[in-house]
């Protein structure tokens, strides 16, 4: 049942974005554009920062991608998966920017050091103590770069395995494996703090 709800939510989220696309393409609806911006700006910026290693540059890259999106709004409805489209556009522009700057920007997504969004699990939920939670968060933040990136895309952006594989130019099998590794490390961290306590 949990599973079905999850798939249903994914479908709903997808339809919502399709709807925003239509409103922008057909009605030039600025509030729809804003909603899209709000939904994707932060996550795309974190993704880009992993490549260009500069929050400022990343924000400009993402802002540029959104400007382009408005410019091309009449063709917006033709994009099947806008989320994936945005991520690929940001990836390409970020790689180009780091090549142009010839700085130590990451040229391969394998080495991307991506930051995760800061989440807050309410200790009042009594799942565990704040300290235990802290050490689990540390474990997540210390995941190997590639596992962490895939974890981010799967958890925060709710991307499907095949889309992650497509975006990162890796196989679905690799996505599956890396995410399993991430889950195992988190489970080990949970095990060590929760078991120690009880």
């Amino acid at each position: 049942m949990v599973h079905e709800r999850l798939l249903l939510n994914k479908e709903k989220a997808y339809q919502k974005i399709r709807d925003l696309q239509r409103r922008i393409a057909v009605y030039e609806d600025e509030s729809a554009y804003k909603e899209l911006f709000f939904q994707f700006f932060n996550t795309l910026t974190r993704f880009s920062t992993g490549i260009v290693h500069s929050g400022e540059t990343a924000e400009e890259i993402v802002s540029d991608v959104f400007i382009q999106l408005w410019k091309d709004r009449t063709k917006l409805e033709q994009i099947q998966d806008l989320q994936l489209y945005l991520f690929i556009a940001v990836k390409n522009n970020s790689l180009r920017a780091s090549r142009q700057q010839q700085k130590k920007g990451t040229l391969s997504v394998e080495e991307m050091q991506v930051e995760l969004e800061s989440t807050y699990l309410d200790p009042a939920q009594k799942i565990m103590s704040a300290e235990a939670l802290q050490s689990i968060h540390t474990a997540i933040n210390n995941l190997p770069p590639r596992a962490k990136l895939i974890f981010k895309l799967a958890k925060e952006d709710k991307m499907r395995y095949k889309d992650i594989a497509n975006l990162l130019d890796i196989s679905v099998k690799t996505v599956d494996n890396q995410l399993s590794i991430a889950i195992r490390k988190i489970a080990v961290a949970i095990g060590s703090v929760v078991r120690k306590k009880s």
Binding site: E28, F38, F41, I183
Partner: protein
């Protein structure tokens, strides 16, 4: 079945990639191993945890404004008539990130910082009434006690709303020979037009000269600074002991002057491109007013409508304002609480209700007890 298989199944379950058979397989494992079920529950809770949306939203609001600004420069701004006027930022200013940082760091969403902070040398202490002792042999005094706000009509037809714990004095000749008043505390002024006799307000640290305008002056002695917010018209402001340096304020701007400012200006607003650190530490800044996007009311003057509004202010500042608003004395016993920043609006709440609400929104909860009009706040 390997251990790895379990993590694999959990990952697939969380992402919705698992098939029905795989879900059943995972269920069989958890039936055998109750600890595994606990782990999965925790992982799932973590997986579903999301960042604080309200916090993100403020940042995004500011970011989006700057994004529109970039678009506008390219001539492709999407249409947005209500917001673009009031929050347009100046062209050619620092990059996206730097400005966002200023916005979110200082005031939250719509307080776009225009002039940057600049520093002015602090002078020797001077008598607080240096500007105030103009010739006023016979004085009229309008006062409001703490917890009370009042509206007054001045002899020249100008209106003034005095916030709690404030005082306005003016001489016998007010309206005849001059239009000069002295303000302690906070007042909102709606000034009658009279080109011959400019309306002059003097506080302990600034003097404001106006022709016809509506604006708010906040100059409580116990606050660290004096804030002047302009709603319409224009005003000319001079800082104590520096009569030759005049600052012209435009509508929807406010100027904040640290209460002991006295040295001459080293920089004017227009050429202050970046923070300039001079020899010491008196601060002056000019900011956009905080406009509520829902009804475009200006937060700085909400008290006139009987609302105590604060946006991204420290608990220490809020406590000071609550003291005046409710006529109580608030002592924060634990300094770690003082710097927490909060936003909120109080209208009809009692002081106890207000504190209860604040208690809920602090990251470190506090306790308080009240004896008569004295309130102590503890961790």
């Amino acid at each position: 079945m390997t251990i790895h298989r379990i993590w694999n199944l959990i990952a697939r379950k969380l992402t919705g990639e698992a098939s029905v058979e795989e879900l059943q397989e995972l269920d069989r494992h958890t039936e055998e191993d109750s600890k595994l079920q606990l782990d999965i529950d925790i992982i799932q809770a973590l997986w579903e945890s999301r960042p604080d949306e309200a916090e993100e939203r403020d940042y995004l609001e500011a970011t989006y404004i700057l994004h529109l600004d970039r678009m506008q420069k390219l001539g492709i701004e999407p249409h947005n008539p209500d917001e673009s006027e009031s929050i347009k930022s100046e062209p050619g200013k620092p990059g996206l990130r730097k400005r966002i940082w200023l916005v979110s760091g200082m005031a939250g969403m719509l307080a776009l910082t225009l002039g940057l902070w600049f520093f002015i040398q602090r002078d020797q202490p001077s008598p607080t009434n240096a500007l105030a002792n103009t010739n006023m042999p016979e004085q009229f005094e309008l006062t409001t006690r703490k917890g009370v706000k009042s509206k007054f009509m001045l002899p020249d037809g100008s209106q003034v709303w005095l916030n709690a714990g404030s005082k306005l004095t003016y001489g016998r000749n007010f309206g005849k020979e001059n239009r000069e008043v002295v303000l302690t505390g906070e007042g909102f002024f709606d000034v009658q037009k009279n080109i011959e006799k400019p309306f002059i307000i003097t506080t302990s640290s600034v003097q404001i000269k106006v022709l016809c305008t509506a604006f708010n002056v906040k100059a409580y002695p116990e606050d660290g600074n004096t804030e002047t917010s302009l709603i319409r018209g224009s005003i000319e402001l001079t800082i104590k002991n520096r009569p030759n340096d005049k600052i012209i304020l435009s509508p929807n701007e406010k100027i904040i002057v640290e209460n002991s400012a006295s040295a001459p200006f080293e920089k004017t607003r227009t050429d202050a491109k970046k923070p300039v650190a001079l020899t010491a530490n008196t601060l002056i800044s000019i900011k956009k007013l905080k406009i509520n996007p829902l009804d475009s009311s200006v937060l700085e003057t909400q008290w006139v409508e009987n609302k105590l509004v604060f946006r991204d202010e420290s608990f220490r500042e809020i406590a000071l304002r609550m003291e005046r608003w409710y006529d109580v004395q608030i002592d924060i016993q634990d300094p770690t609480l003082e710097d927490e920043r909060l936003s909120g609006i109080f209208t009809s709440e009692t002081v106890t209700e207000a504190l209860d609400a604040l208690k809920e929104s602090m990251s470190t909860p506090f306790r308080f007890n009240q004896a008569d009009r004295k309130i102590n706040i503890y961790r």
